[in-house]
Amino acid sequence: MSGPPEAGYAELGALSNFSFLEGASHAAQLVEQAKSLGLAALGVADRNTLAGVVRAHKAAKDAGLRLLIGCRLEFTDGSELIVFPRDRAAYGRLCRLLSQGKSEVLAASNVIAFPGAKPPTPSRHAGEGQHPVSPQSPISEIVVKLGAGLRQHDGESIVSSPSETEPRITKGETRLTFAQAALLGDGLVALVPAPDRLDAAFRARLAEWAAAWPDALHLAAAPRWRGDDRARLARLARLAEAAGAPLVAYNAVRYHHPDQRRLQDVLTCVRHGVTIDTAGHALDANAERYLKPPEEMARLFAGHPQALARTLDIAAACTFLLDELRYDYPEEPVPEGWTPGRHLIRLSFAGARAKWPGRIPTKIVPTIVKELRMIRKLAYAPYFLTVHDIVAWARGQTEPILCQGRGSAANSVVCYCLGITAIDPMQQDVLMERFISEERREPPDIDVDFEHERRELVMQYIYRRYGRDRAGIVATVIHYRPRSAIRDVGKALGLSEDVTARLAGTTWGSFAREIDDGHLDDTGISRDDPRLALAIELARQLLDFPRHLSQHVGGFVLTKSPLIETVPVGNGAMADRTFIEWDKDDIDVLGMMKIDVLALGMLTALKRGFDMLRDHYGVRVGLDDLKPTKKRVYDMLTRADSLGVFQVESRAQMAMLPRLRPREFYDLVVEVAIVRPGPIQGKMVHPYLRNRLLRRQAEAAGRPFRIDFPAPDPAHGPPDELRNILGKTLGVPLFQEQAMRIAMDAAQFSGAEANQLRRAMATFRHVGTIGLLERRMVDRMIARGYDAEFAENCFGQIKGFGEYGFPESHAASFAHLVYASSWLKCDWPDVFAAALLNSQPMGFYAPAQIVRDAREHGIEVRPVDVGTSDWDCTLERRGGRRRRALRLGLRMITGFRSVWADAIAAAREVAPFASLDDLRRRAALPGAALDRLAEADALGSLSLSRRQGQWEALGAAGGAPKAAAAPLFDYAGLDESDGAPPPALPRLSASAEVVGDYRSLRLSLKGHPLAFLRDRLAAAGAIPASRLGQVRDGRRVIVGGVVLVRQRPGTAKGVVFLTLEDETGVANAVIWPSIFDKQRAVAMGARMLLIHGRIQRGSADDGGVTHLVAERLDDWTPALGDLDCRNVDEVRAAPSRGRHPRDVRILPASRDFH
């Protein structure tokens, strides 16, 4: 250790900012400061968590500082204990203890099963005799009692299992008692922080603990600066001696430097929900809780040199490092007597034989062998086996759960043979070695998508299969972002809510990284206000502080030895979910493997579609059976007829399809990947499309087509070094791995450099090293004779990938789903529409557009009706015709419940409904349900119009006594009613009927609202959207419509894309920033717009996409409100007050993406 022994000091028990809202420095800041101050070691112990230890560990390793990893246990009675494990076993017990405090499920987990753990038992205590447990001590009694329980239940539970009545431990909560902690036994060093009040209760507690934990327990004293430190230290020394718990010096560090005090005060305010002006004594009186140099600590503990020396003893005793964690993958799915490797070989070839009945193609066998060899070498066989096991389970259900794998390792023949992916290696090159490299020694990565509605079943299977003590979901650390930071800081500093909202509102999107000064000036808030300046400054400091832990979307970590002895596991916010405290970067550092079990809505839709195909048409088909070869499917996509299709349904994708003209499966892979920030920022789209066009032209003319690959100077390398990388994509890099390969081949990055680049790419948002790499790559490529622009574009693409990169293997897996959904849409549009509607919400479009699209494809769509509709949308026979009609389901009705639908269906089985009252009685529907049905105009089969239905339903809903008071009438099925004849209700106009449909169903089969405004639109000079296609390029036109989608993509430099819809079709409008800024309010707020603009049509090569470039926007939103009136002259001219928003909200809000 550094420094002379008398000045040596190790700060133990510092809090990092993973003690949420308490610690005010990053672990790395603490580590660096400790190093520069010359501390012998640093002990980081956050409150009831080990969530920050990996970061601290990494920082300490980088800085070359001894780090003690520990935890500040906070017991349910409020007492505290800082513990540092001395070795791996003790660390494991600490993790287990925390896990048990964080989840009652784990508290009951089998402790005996762990071979390494030696939980202290009474016999051990008694036998070894080195624990002088006094029989009167309540602690020892608990130990004995628990031990007895242990024997009784034979390993069921060692700690008091939570009683039934106790509420579930909530996410982030930890319930622990010292009695539990006492079982940690040897191997730990424990420090009792001296509380403010050294009363009898504390003295008694200290004595008890010391007795329960001899040799290991210390009393930790920190100066308080309350004027009595000298006396207090002397008193603590006496106390320590009396209790047999030696005194240890520390400074209860909460931040690395006194300047952090302000931030710490703010965090305290946020924790208590008070403002800084009223926080009073909740704040610290001074800024002393920072890391102090050894000399200063020696001065403060003058007279107690042994208290300082002990810190070094403890640091020396605790040799445990996180590096000692050995990750062992479970070997679960391997049958008795087999090794994982052999089992995998057997499964792979069995799978191959099933895929290629008859004979496995000669091309395939060597690939399988090569892959298996590599898998064996890297010992990844168990990983593939677990993925296989999960997938096989999902497929093996009575109702098989659709799933599909993707990710680097999934791009392999083995995965195809194991049924993890559906990418046929005969059709598609698979290059696993690209992604699993020996030198990188990186965990393989396989993501598996499941049907989104049934993914939870799979997750619960994994918990069951491996046990909650061996399987956990990875955490996601939620960090402070500009919005949340300014909101919390502003509140703590007492800024009024509108000011903080205004500040927070200055950043578009919650992931904006900077609180931009320019933005601040827009808000009209005076920057001279000192409080405001403070708030901004502190919010900047707070950025990137961890705020709380959340669950990763689906990443599982599995272990062979108990996971809960590697990392604490706790309850998630959702019932039945437990997750570990480390996020994916942390487990990366430790080389742990994760399997992503993800949810995908399209798989749900496809599953429903396949089921319907089977039930209605007798067609049996599965995801794997679809060979992506049908020409008419590609033709459909080329027409951009892709509404509802997976991935390629967005506006940008629809615009790309006619330009790309997909003809084969690989084109779909490209299509999925090309409309992404990477290729767009790398300016790769146009070169690729140009080359495709050239190829088409060459093929048409019968000429051979050649690409001139960018090439290095002949002096530096072979001219075709990029052909291997870029051959398939016509000389243009489109995928993440191509960019990587270019870095390695064209810029001659070493393996280590490439690794660095890849990491920078993955965590692009976090680190600034990217600039360095950029210069290195671009310079080297230029030096080797490449075109400077090409080099820069290659790197631009890498930067783009940093955000949402798409490796080829992902794109290929997605492309398969693109094909599957396109095929369904192409051949079975009725099934496709029904499946899509039944899987809502998902995708890009609302039900109204899906229904409209179905009708445009010739599907008869029938309205929701209580006499025929089920909960889901169904298919109905239509005369003798082959194509079925689509019956909308009750699920389309806003606010309707599936239990009501089930009750209706069950009652309908017995007999059709005769009247509303009959329906109410037999299906036992509440008034609200009747009301919803009437609103949706779903009572047609009862001969009730919407109005009549509503009147009747309201009577039933409001007249509770009716049902109860007249059982006789009820029995006779009579309607005693109001004694009045059915009232003469005002008649509904056609437009009001449509509006009513939209209100309840968000769509109408009776017409489009805009049809009723057509006269007024025509008078204003607007043409129908359907006629846009015939307008000459460059002509000025006016189009009116409701706003369907509003997009403001980050890559489009402030351009806003609007999709308008009228009764004839949709119009795609583009608003340039100049217009947008002028008419911002209208562009962002209007639900109906009249757009004056110019037609801009792409060339035929581009697929002839028509855009309306806006020049002026008129807000027609009020016109929508007029639709609801019985007749147009009812529109009141005056009522000087603005219409209530509810009145205008007759159409579903647009979907806004920004």
């Binding site: 009040r197 600066w225 004594h281 005076s526 707020g1085 019985r1126 209530h1140």
Partner: protein, 511 residues
């Protein structure tokens, strides 16, 4: 009527779109907008974030409902000039109306039309934009004001049915739920409901929050009466004086007062009553009121007593603004006149509790003048107590409960010097206690010392001349003269403001 609450923190609202905002269940929403904001397409109830996306320059301030209500209350008081029966309208969501019961007072202003004209003119002069409605029932007047065709709508007697037929259902003061429900059935105007079976309507529109639709209908047509919650108990005994020209000084008030006193006294005398309290209200031409109340220990109708009490109470403190054009003297509380009157000081002799004393002092000196000290959880000693207006000050124990259970600070001296006095001291660097110090030119040797207690400055407060910016180390010392002192050194050696050496101060003396 549209009011804006001025932003208290950031000055008056700027020109251009401005809105008041409030936290709703789904984030911050606009609650009230000025004309520019409405013109920009914003509306109340809109989410603030959406509004900002539409109008980036939108200025906002937090809405203050309590202040709005108070403002409306002040306006209601001003309306007492037209009638004793004035109520704040609590039906609307916007807190934007006042009911004036004019049944008995219209004749004073030249009939109903004259009254409306007077109201409109005076409100206009006071800078208040109004819509007026006058009808047989409060409900009809409410609707007429809001949905009448003109800014001033007079519904003739018995003419409600005709006038209201075209009004939308919103004129019935219905809750949004009922309104939406009725709209769904196609009922849009009051006429739509005519001819509908009452039973059927009642069954379908009797609901939780608002009054049922049928009941509102009945109130509109006067089938059912409606009681208004008037702002001032309608004093049945009052005298008023209306001036042709505004009275702009006290002399004018003093000139009119005797007449009022006499008329009220005569009124009371007729009933054999005495006033237990008096309320004098001046109606300002700018739409405000000014006034004072006097409570009499014992009912009286001696105008000299009244005059003296009003004088003592502070007649000269009436804020006449730009002038008042009417005076109202009312006896809100009357009782039969009894024999004797107690001496004013007698109650005090009986030993009142402190609160009574505070009340009496406040009556004489004004509420703001009487203050009490209260402890406050602050580390800095001079900030650890503060002065509150005595009336309504919370009891000491009610401050900041639960933030800390620990007696937070070390002992504090009884006498605190304000401001601390500089001393010269000799002490060990960096944080030793003083060995000796010179205060008020006398050198004191320290016999015993304890410390330091380290208190950091309140960094969040604006730095000014009087706000400390450096950390203090406090020491309790006992000097050789036996006295105990509380000294502090301002500034830490080493890193804090190194350019300025630490300084020593005496902050207090222990007993």
């Amino acid at each position: 009527m549209h009011r804006r609450t001025l932003g208290r923190t950031y000055g008056p609202p700027p020109e251009g779109p401005f809105a008041l905002v409030e936290r709703g269940p789904h984030g911050i929403v606009l609650v009230s907008l000025d004309a520019a904001a409405r013109a920009a397409g914003l509306r109340s109830g809109q989410r603030h974030a959406d509004a900002r996306a539409m109008v980036p320059g939108l200025a906002t301030a937090a809405a203050d409902r309590a202040a709005d209500l108070a403002a409306l209350g002040r306006l209601a008081h001003w309306c007492l000039r037209w009638s004793p029966g004035v109520a704040v309208d609590a039906c609307g969501t916007g807190l934007d109306g006042v009911f004036v019961e004019v049944a008995g007072s219209a004749h004073l202003f030249g009939g109903e039309a004259g009254l409306l004209a007077d109201m409109r003119a005076r409100c206009g002069a006071a800078g208040i934009a109004v819509r007026l409605g006058l009808a047989d029932t409060p409900g009809a007047a409410w609707g007429a004001a809001r949905f009448g065709n003109a800014a001033v709508t007079l519904v003739p007697e018995g003419g409600i049915r005709a006038a209201a037929a075209a009004w939308p259902l919103a004129a019935l003061r219905l809750d949004p739920l009922t309104l939406a429900r009725a709209a769904r059935l196609g009922f849009r105007t009051v006429a739509d409901l005519d001819g509908m079976p009452r039973g059927g309507l009642a069954r379908r529109f009797r609901d939780g929050d608002g009054l049922g639709l049928v009941r509102r209908l009945d109130q509109l047509f006067g089938v059912e009466g409606e009681a208004l919650d008037t702002v001032a108990p309608a004093a049945r005994h009052a005298a008023r004086a209306v001036f042709g020209e505004p009275v702009i000084d006290m002399a004018g008030v003093a000139a009119h007062l005797p007449g009022l006193l006499d008329r009220l006294a005569a009124d009371l005398a007729a009933g054999g009553l005495g006033a237990g309290a008096l309320a004098l209200t001046g109606f300002r031409i700018d739409g405000g009121t000014t006034g004072l109340d006097v409570r009499l220990g014992k009912a009286s109708r001696d105008t000299r007593v009244w005059a003296r009490l009003l004088e003592t109470r502070g007649l000269d403190r009436l804020d006449l603004g730009f002038g008042i054009d009417a005076l109202l003297l009312a006896a809100p509380h009357v009782e039969p006149l009894a024999a004797t009157q107690l001496d004013h000081g007698a109650a005090a002799a009986a030993g009142e509790p402190l609160n009574d004393l505070i009340d009496r002092l406040a009556a004489r000196l004004g509420g703001e003048a009487i203050r009490v000290a209260r402890p406050r959880a602050r580390w800095l000693p001079e900030r650890a107590e503060h002065w509150l207006t005595a009336q309504g000050a919370p009891p000491p124990a009610a401050l900041l409960p639960g933030l800390t259970s620990e007696p937070a600070t070390a002992p504090r001296p009884l006498l605190l010097l304000d401001p601390p006095e500089p001393v010269e001291a000799t002490a060990m660097v960096p944080d030793g206690a003083p060995v000796q110090f010179r205060w008020r030119r006398i050198m004191r040797r320290v016999a015993r010392a304890e410390g330091p207690e380290r208190l950091a400055p309140e960094w969040w407060r604006e730095t000014g001349r009087r706000v400390p910016r450096r950390t203090r180390d406090y020491y309790r010392v006992e000097a050789d003269d036996g006295a105990r002192y509380w000294l502090f050194r301002e500034g830490l050696y080493g890193w804090e403001d190194a350019g300025r050496p630490p300084t020593w101060w005496l902050h207090g003396l222990f007993a």
